[in-house]
């Protein structure tokens, strides 16, 4: 029991959780509601004070409100992309692995190849160029950076499983193809997929933050962590609070997601299978932005 909720990583995660809760509660009762995009609700570049807990930016906007909005945007869009990549990658991977629709399998495999021949850092840029820098473009660019991992994981694993005795035994008691896939193959692979999803979340946060940081992400005034950091750069020496808070938010969430992924991975003993499949962790995560 203690083991499950203890450990240094877990304590960090719970501390962050608690802090966020306390902060949300405080904001709710103290009436610190400002619009994240409304300029001049306060003076320009005001340091943190009781009225503006995280200060104001160069346009006199409330940094705390902007950070909250940015968190929602960044994490929300990342979540949508990861879920999409997981569903589509998994479905196509199993479809191709089991040759469910024979004439489509070569097409799917070709798409799968495309997803991994582009370096992770180019693909998002190309997609934003194609689809524009709206929420849709963001989601698609994260999605396309991620889905291939799920696809190849599922493809390899579902093909590997076909030779395993317990799958053969499931057929030997009269199981149909679909029954075996749903009740045996899928439960066997689910933990692996979930761990990969958690770790992909880290990549997704990295992609959206990098795009925003480079100025080709969501356009102002919508805040994201990346754009907040980018916009704050000129004022780094005058107004540390503009840079520090979004960076802290970014680092903490990447660490928390990473910790969670590793934890699940170890708990379910699937780390070996996931390892080496998370792309982009070397280029597009927090280190590029900071």
């Amino acid at each position: 029991m203690n083991q499950r909720w203890g450990g240094r990583n877990a304590i960090l995660i719970w501390c962050v959780f608690g802090l966020v809760l306390v902060a949300a509660f405080y904001i709710a009762i103290s009436g610190h509601f400002y619009s994240p995009i409304e300029p001049f609700v306060g003076g320009k570049l005001q340091p943190p004070s009781h009225a503006f807990l995280m200060g104001t930016d160069e346009l006199g906007r409330d940094v705390l409100s902007r950070l909250i909005a940015a968190t929602g945007v960044t994490l929300g869009l990342s979540l949508v992309s990861v879920v999409l990549a997981m569903l589509i990658g998994t479905l196509l991977g199993m479809g191709a692995g089991y040759n469910l629709v024979p004439f489509l399998t070569p097409v799917i495999l070709f798409l799968g190849q495309i997803s991994i021949i582009f370096p992770t850092r180019w693909l998002p840029l190309m997609i934003v160029a194609l689809f524009g820098n709206h929420a849709l473009g963001m989601v698609l660019s994260m999605f396309f950076s991620l889905w291939g991992q799920f696809f190849w994981l599922m493809y390899d694993e579902s093909r590997g499983l076909q030779g395993r005795t317990f799958i053969q035994a499931a057929y030997a008691v009269g199981g149909t193809k679909w029954k075996v896939i749903i009740f045996h193959v899928f439960p066997y692979l689910a933990p692996t997929v979930l761990v990969l999803a958690t770790l992909s979340f880290r990549t997704a946060i990295g992609v959206i933050s990098t795009l925003s940081f480079l100025g080709i992400g969501l356009q102002p005034p919508t805040p994201t962590w990346g754009s907040m950091i980018a916009e704050a750069q000129p004022y780094f020496f005058q107004a540390w609070w503009l840079v520090v808070f979004p960076i802290v938010a970014l680092i903490i969430s990447v660490l928390a997601v990473n910790g969670l992924g590793n934890r699940f991975g170890k708990r379910w003993d699937v780390m070996d299978r996931v390892q080496g499949r998370t792309r982009g962790s070397e280029g597009t995560d927090a280190t590029t932005v900071t």
Binding site: Q162, T165, F166, A169, Y171, A172, G175, H184, P187
Partner: protein, 269 residues
């Protein structure tokens, strides 16, 4: 004349891989009467498992299974579509695999896997039947083991669970692919005795695969000796043990240490 339980003629199984093709089973003929135990004996790689799986049409793909005739209890397996095979598997023909530790889904409680072998029906009744069968195969503490995961049981206990699972629907033919090879020697004897008892109680046909003639002597009515995909000698167990014709059979007999002591009938050779 009684209807044959199994009648296989001219069976060939091959695995194509790239340029060359491995022929695992070559021109095999087998006949079994209802209630008969036929043992397939042969060294590792002689094609025993492939032969067994081809009867269930479960050979690993890509593979090609061809035969002149493959009849099971009046059903033509050769031309039976996959749906028909699914109805047969686990009901009329069931299988016990070599290594029980790899034959169960590692993340699913045993009870759930057992019930899967039973046809649609009320859960309570299915559970009751499974529990009954578990106690018939001599699994202690069956109620608790239904909730257990495979890795918590010993190999011998797991093999009993798999045997129970195979017998749930009272099959006409039970295929046992080296059911004791993966087990400790001390456990092996118990499982063999279990097979001997179940065979009498269920009056089912049994295709018993082994590389140990000592085991075969205790169970089989007839023996087919396999080597490099072919059956080199086929006959009643007494005949094979007492008057083996093929040199390979004699070689196998010499390799079975237990035979000399336990079976007085092998005098001549």
């Amino acid at each position: 004349m009684q209807r044959r339980l199994l009648d296989v003629q001219g069976l060939n199984v091959s695995f194509p891989s790239g340029q060359e093709t491995t022929v695992a089973v070559k021109d095999v003929n087998l006949q079994m009467q209802p209630g008969e135990t036929l043992a397939i004996v042969g060294e590792s790689g002689s094609g025993k498992s492939t032969l067994a799986l081809s009867i269930l049409k479960l050979t690993h793909k890509p593979s090609s299974v061809q035969a002149l005739r493959m009849m099971f209890d009046g059903t033509d397996l050769l031309h039976l579509p996959e749906r028909g095979m699914q109805k047969l598997r686990g009901k009329d023909i069931s299988m016990v695999f070599q290594d029980p530790k790899t034959a169960f889904h590692p993340m699913m409680p045993l009870g759930k896997q057992l019930l899967e072998a039973l046809p649609q029906g009320r859960r309570r009744e299915k559970r009751q039947r499974a529990l009954e069968m578990l106690s018939r195969v001599g699994l202690p503490d069956a109620e608790r083991q239904m909730h257990a995961y495979p890795h918590t049981l010993s190999g011998g206990m797991l093999q009993r669970v798999m045997i129970a699972m195979a017998l749930l629907n009272q099959p006409k033919l039970l295929i046992a692919d080296e059911p004791t090879t993966a087990l400790d020697v001390t456990v092996q004897a118990g499982i063999i005795r279990l097979f001997a008892r179940l065979k009498r109680q269920f009056q089912m046909g049994m295709l018993f695969i082994s590389h140990d003639l000592g085991v075969v002597a205790q169970l089989a009515d007839n023996v087919a000796v396999m080597r490099q995909g072919q059956i080199v000698e086929y006959g009643s167990v007494e005949r094979i043990l007492q008057h083996p014709v093929h040199p390979y059979t004699r070689h196998l007999l010499q390799m079975a240490p237990r035979l000399g002591g336990t079976l007085p009938m092998i005098g001549g050779r």
